[in-house]
């Protein structure tokens, strides 16, 4: 059994990679591609400014790389085994990565013969901290140089965007075909051999100026990076994780930051998950406690009035669309103009709840709900929406399983030997009918984490459903991949758990 579980666990790794890769590529290939949400706010921006903004964002989030490269980079960050230079951790817990590589400026061959390399002042001494350098001093030195480098880099990036804009103008004047890629960016390899043509346009002077500037910016960025690198190598902050051999280390997986919300992904998920779990932890027991007994009763009195009434009621509820039910609930049960309109319409807490005590308490002779009960009051309607459609499947399942078992030989034997009817129902039939119910719970659990988008939207509940949908709509790489990864992992684990539970509940099944 142990070997089996281990094998299943190891198999999960390639499966997870496959799932995340597929989802990522699907999103990357959809119109707009990864990071499409970032350009949503461009509105009436000037083209040049827009080009600069897009270039900045692409550089910050590494969106200029091709989708598979972006995926591999992400894998490298979440992998606990790291290669190459180790990250460092600053006192606020942020990972400081080695300075990014400076990209070679496009069309540099037009302006210089040889690419410049970083110039290091030969007289400069090897960088070393002063003996009395405190942590604060070190971080100040690092931060100052990091700022210098990002400024130099920003110059390079915006210079590049400006050059591309001018080139774009020349291209439209010369009507060169296929010089733009799918995202509308200039393809430099197409233009490269066309220098003479470009020189004939009115934009030539500007293109030359910008191109020469760009080479200068490149040199400057290289120099600043070199300086930053020496400071980074002197380790201004403690290193992350622990090293095994040089170039190989083990460290905490870094889920990265969502670029649509620019916050750590783990923080976003840990805010949303408790809310979704709370809703489901209330909803699922209610479903089970109502559906199973009524399924049993329906099986015992199969074909009777209760069987038919409960069956049609649950099917009717199951067929009622949740969006409509939610809106009707908000419109009537939350409207104070009706006597039954006593529920809150949105959110998880009332406005005054900041001042509440946690538990119900008596203040100035009035009973006050308290923070906890106030929250339960707020989740009543969302939970009702989650619950009402769930009875049908579970009670029908129970009923069918019970009826199957009722027709079994051992039940007939038990009846014949005079076992009490109550004992037959509970000890023989019900126990044996539990198997499918256990496995059903296992398959419900992953769905819990994904949340229910519709219900969260109607009741304005900031849960997982909203987070998942947003990450897809905004094509937010980190958030999307983390969500996919989590949902996939929980699903796979649940499947494994189901198999284990099977073999435990049914001795006939064994994994060898």
């Amino acid at each position: 059994m142990g070997v089996y579980i281990l094998r299943r666990l190891l198999l999960m790794i390639p499966t997870l990679l496959g799932i995340t890769f597929l989802v990522f590529m699907l999103i990357a290939l959809s119109p707009g591609g990864i990071g499409a949400g970032l350009s949503a706010g461009n509105g009436q921006m000037d083209q040049t400014n827009r080009a600069i903004k897009e270039a900045y964002l692409e550089d910050r989030y590494g969106l200029d790389a091709s989708a598979p490269v972006q995926y591999v980079r992400w894998l490298g960050r979440i992998s606990p085994i790291k290669f190459g230079k180790r990250d460092q951790v600053d006192p606020t817990g942020t990972f400081i990565q080695p300075p990014k590589v400076v990209k070679v400026p496009p069309l540099w061959e037009w302006y210089i013969d040889e690419l410049p390399v970083a110039q290091v002042d030969p007289n400069a001494q090897v960088f070393a901290w002063a003996d009395d350098a405190s942590e604060l001093n070190k971080s100040m030195v690092y931060r100052r140089q990091a700022n210098q480098y990002s400024k130099a880099r920003a110059k390079l990036i915006s210079g590049r965007a400006l050059l591309d804009t001018e080139l774009g103008k020349a291209i439209s004047e010369l009507e060169i075909k296929k010089a733009h890629d799918k995202k509308g960016k200039v393809k430099h390899d197409v233009i490269e051999p066309m220098r003479a043509q470009i020189e004939s346009t009115e934009f030539n002077e500007e293109i030359n100026r910008l191109g020469n500037d760009l080479v200068g910016y490149y040199q400057n960025a290289l120099n600043e990076r070199e300086k930053l690198m020496t400071i980074f190598d002197a380790k201004p902050y403690p290193e992350a994780g622990f090293g095994i051999i040089p170039g190989l280390s083990i460290s905490k997986p870094d889920m990265g930051q969502s670029f649509s919300k620019s916050r750590p992904v783990m923080e976003l998920i840990s805010e949303a998950i408790p809310i979704t779990i709370l809703l489901n932890l209330i909803a699922i027991p209610i479903i089970y406690f109502i559906a199973i007994p009524s399924g049993m009763l329906a099986a015992v009195r199969s074909g009777g009035a209760f069987d038919r009434a409960s069956g049609s009621l649950y099917i009717a509820l199951w067929s009622f669309p949740i969006p409509l039910a939610g809106v009707l609930m908000v419109g009537y049960m939350a409207n104070h103009n009706y006597w039954f309109g006593v529920f809150p319409a949105s959110g998880l807490h009332s406005s005054a709840s900041d001042g509440f005590t946690y538990l119900p308490s008596r203040i100035d002779g009035h009973w006050q709900f308290g923070y906890l009960l106030d929250m339960f009051w707020h989740v009543c309607m969302p939970v009702a929406c989650l619950v009402y459609g769930g009875f049908a499947v579970l009670s029908k399942q129970t009923r069918a399983a019970m009826l199957d078992n009722f027709n079994m030989d051992y039940v007939r034997t038990a009846k014949a030997k005079g076992v009490a009817y109550k004992d037959i129902v509970f000890r023989h039939v019900f126990r044996n009918s539990l198997l499918p119910l256990i496995t059903m719970f296992v398959s419900i659990f992953p769905a819990m984490l994904a949340g229910s988008v519709v219900i969260e939207k109607i009741f304005t509940i900031p849960g997982m459903g909203n987070l998942v949908i947003e990450s897809i709509n905004l094509k937010d790489r980190e958030l999307l991949l983390a969500n996919t990864m989590m949902i996939a992992a929980v699903n796979l684990l649940a499947l494994l758990l189901a198999d284990i539970l099977y073999s435990m509940a049914d001795p006939r099944i064994s994994y060898k």
Partner: protein, 652 residues
């Protein structure tokens, strides 16, 4: 004996579990008390600081009063002495020297300015558009709750770009100058006066005395410089959106403690707005934080505005999903607002929003057009709420853009302006508003619409006139020669075109159906193409459409027309996606170079006339703002600028 789990054991176990749960809950309750106490202590701390400062000011004031008194007594005794010595004749010449002293004093007041003849624009004292203090039932206090239809993810100024964060930050942070709510003219806020180079290369700004951030620290010129150079233009911060639009400002220099000077790359009519229009942030607060702390923050908003964040703490920030709470800034330098606090709630579902408004839990909501039409007619509604429906400077417009240039190398029928005019004539825009927008909104007249001063007041919306449209089409060569009901040109090509609209909206769908039927009635075949919004960007960039339905939003009374209309924006995938080229550049270039506002408006009006004649877009509708506001609040006025919540007060 059988070891059976009986009822007694069950009860016992439940008791143990219950005790456990209660202990846990008690721990929670204790924790909650602890955090609340900490918050309270923090607040007490700031109050103590304020008291200490007030105390010090008072003492200094006393000392200076004492000094002043001493000086006056000294002068009096001096005068006394002179009087007694019989210097009566001095009195007239003394008067003369007094006036001289006045002008010298005036010079001293303007000593910050650049020498020369560049006029100084002195700004009036900053105040309310409608002062609430003397109105009936005025009281201080109360909480105003606004419901947002979308979830906020971030509040930190400049990093947060969406309109909702902006609306909250407008209460927390202030700019050097803002628009007057009624006249929409630029008025000094933190700036007391400025001097603007007539050639447009520099701008010198003098800050007001006695202005301070919400923690009481005075605002100096260094804060302005720092905000521009080390906050907005810091490539380590995620400020790309604003940074990439502020390229026209070359540098900001500190001249003296209260004087800054902006230098511009090139003269541009919009430089003044850009320079005076960004939030001034406290250097002393933000320099305590690392760039990644600022980048990852959710709500580190601090400024000098009339309200401030309820809790401003790096380790205990507001999290999305909670209400945003602002409290009155008791140290505000200007006229203080009457409301004690403002609360921003997110309610995504429109019906839930309306229900919460009816229940009195929310003071203001943006209703949908059908909600507004239906609910505002309910009996007794007017006693309960203000129903506001007005066009303001942020109202955008909807339009159908016609492809004036080639699509895939082939000209569309719309390259002829007579055809475009005919298209406008066959659409009854008032009918569209009445039928599809519940009668809410006005017909749009052009790229700028009233109340914007850039709209030409002489231009009326085009009429609805099928006959004239048919005549224009015939003039343009589109006649039904083979009697099949479809118009053809000389070459025999049928008049068909594609209408692109975004999927998912009922209103655009109805407009599409109307357009198709109106086209059919004059013999034009219109094929709808329905696409997802995410494809729009590509379609526009590639100019891959015959006609397209869209809307432009506005953020200021006159937006620079260059991006949408200039022929430069035809090249390189700019926003002139309809590829319209009819000599508009002369006006647009002139607009950008005319620094004087009233002169600029004249050019704007000429430009507007050209667009009206050419009809590159068929302008459909100006979308007004719709708001329901609870009548518990008074002094509520819809302004051309929007709403001014700092003026409201809670009437009991």
């Amino acid at each position: 004996m059988q070891n059976k789990f009986g009822l007694k054991d069950f009860v016992l176990m439940m008791l143990v579990v219950l005790v456990g749960v209660f202990t846990l809950m008690n721990i929670k309750e204790g924790d909650r008390r602890w955090t609340k106490t900490q918050e309270l202590l923090n607040k007490v701390g700031t109050v103590e600081q304020q008291v200490a400062k007030l105390d010090r000011n008072l003492q200094e004031g006393e000392a200076s009063t004492q000094e002043g008194l001493d000086a006056i007594t000294g002068q009096l005794s001096n005068l006394d002495a002179r009087l007694s010595s019989g210097e009566f004749s001095v009195s007239s010449s003394g008067g003369g020297s007094n006036t001289g002293g006045g002008s010298v004093g005036g010079n001293a007041r303007d000593s910050w300015a650049r020498p020369g003849s560049v006029p100084i624009k002195r700004q009036p004292k900053f105040g309310f558009a409608v002062e609430p203090y003397d109105l009936d039932g005025y009281s201080r206090g109360g909480e105003f709750t606004e419901a947002f239809p979308a979830q906020l993810s971030k509040l930190t100024p400049v990093l947060a770009e969406d309109t909702y964060a902006r609306r909250i930050n407008d209460q927390i942070c202030e700019t050097l100058a803002g628009l007057n709510a009624q006249t929409l003219e630029l008025e000094g806020l933190l700036a007391e006066a400025w001097q603007y180079d007539p050639n447009g290369y520099w701008l010198r700004v003098k800050l007001r005395e006695n202005i301070n951030f919400s923690d009481g620290v005075e605002i100096t010129a260094e804060d302005v410089r720092w905000t521009f150079h080390d906050y907005i233009n810091n490539p380590e911060l995620e400020t790309e959106a604003l940074r990439s639009t502020m390229t026209s400002i070359e540098k900001v220099e500190v001249i003296s403690e209260k004087v800054v000077e902006f230098t511009f790359n090139q003269p541009d009519a919009y430089n003044l707005q850009a320079a005076l229009g960004f939030y001034i942030l406290p250097k002393h607060f933000y320099t305590q934080l690392t760039p990644s702390q600022i980048n990852q923050s959710t709500a580190l908003s601090m400024g000098s505005g009339p309200f401030k964040l309820d809790i401003l703490d790096v380790d205990n920030q507001w999290a999305p999903g909670k209400d945003v709470i602002l409290v009155r800034n008791e140290q505000y330098w200007g006229p203080k607002p009457s409301l004690q606090s403002m609360r921003y709630k997110v309610i995504i579902e429109p019906i839930a929003r309306l229900t919460e408004f009816r229940n009195g839990n929310v003071s203001m909501i943006p209703p949908s057009s059908p909600q507004f039409g239906k609910v505002s007619r309910e009996e007794g509604w007017d006693d309960f709420a203000y129903s506001l429906n007005w066009a303001n400077m942020r109202s955008g417009y909807g339009f159908i853009g016609w492809q004036c240039g080639p699509r895939d190398g082939k000209l569309t029928p719309f390259h002829d302006k007579r055809v475009r005019q005919a298209m406008t004539l066959i659409l009854d825009r008032q009918l569209i508003i009445d039928d599809m927008f519940n009668g809410i909104g006005e017909r749009a007249v052009g790229p700028n619409n009233p109340p914007s001063p850039a709209a030409n007041p002489e231009i009326e919306p085009w009429p609805y006139n099928i006959e004239r449209a048919k005549a224009l089409l015939a003039e343009a060569g589109w006649v039904d020669t083979d009697d099949d009901g479809i118009l053809e040109n000389e070459r025999g090509d049928e008049f068909t075109f594609e209408f692109t609209r975004v999927a998912g909206s009922q209103t655009t769908k109805r407009i599409q159906i109307y357009l198709v039927s109106q086209c059919a009635s004059v013999g034009i075949r219109c094929n709808p193409r329905i696409v997802d919004w995410s494809l729009y960007d590509q379609i526009l960039k590639n100019r891959d459409f015959d006609s397209i339905m869209m809307g432009w939003a506005a953020s200021s009374p006159e937006s620079d027309p260059k991006q949408i209309w200039h022929t430069d924006s035809i090249q390189n995938q700019g926003h002139n996606f309809i590829q319209w080229d009819a000599g508009q550049d002369q006006y647009i270039d002139k607009i950008k170079l005319t620094l004087d506002a009233s002169e600029r408006m004249k050019v704007f009006h000429q430009f507007h006339s050209l667009i009206d004649e050419e009809q590159p877009y068929t302008f459909l509708r100006v979308g007004p703002w719709l708001r329901f506001i609870n009548k518990d609040f008074e002094n509520v006025h819809p302004y051309p600028k929007g709403l001014e919540q700092r003026e409201y007060f809670y009437a009991e």
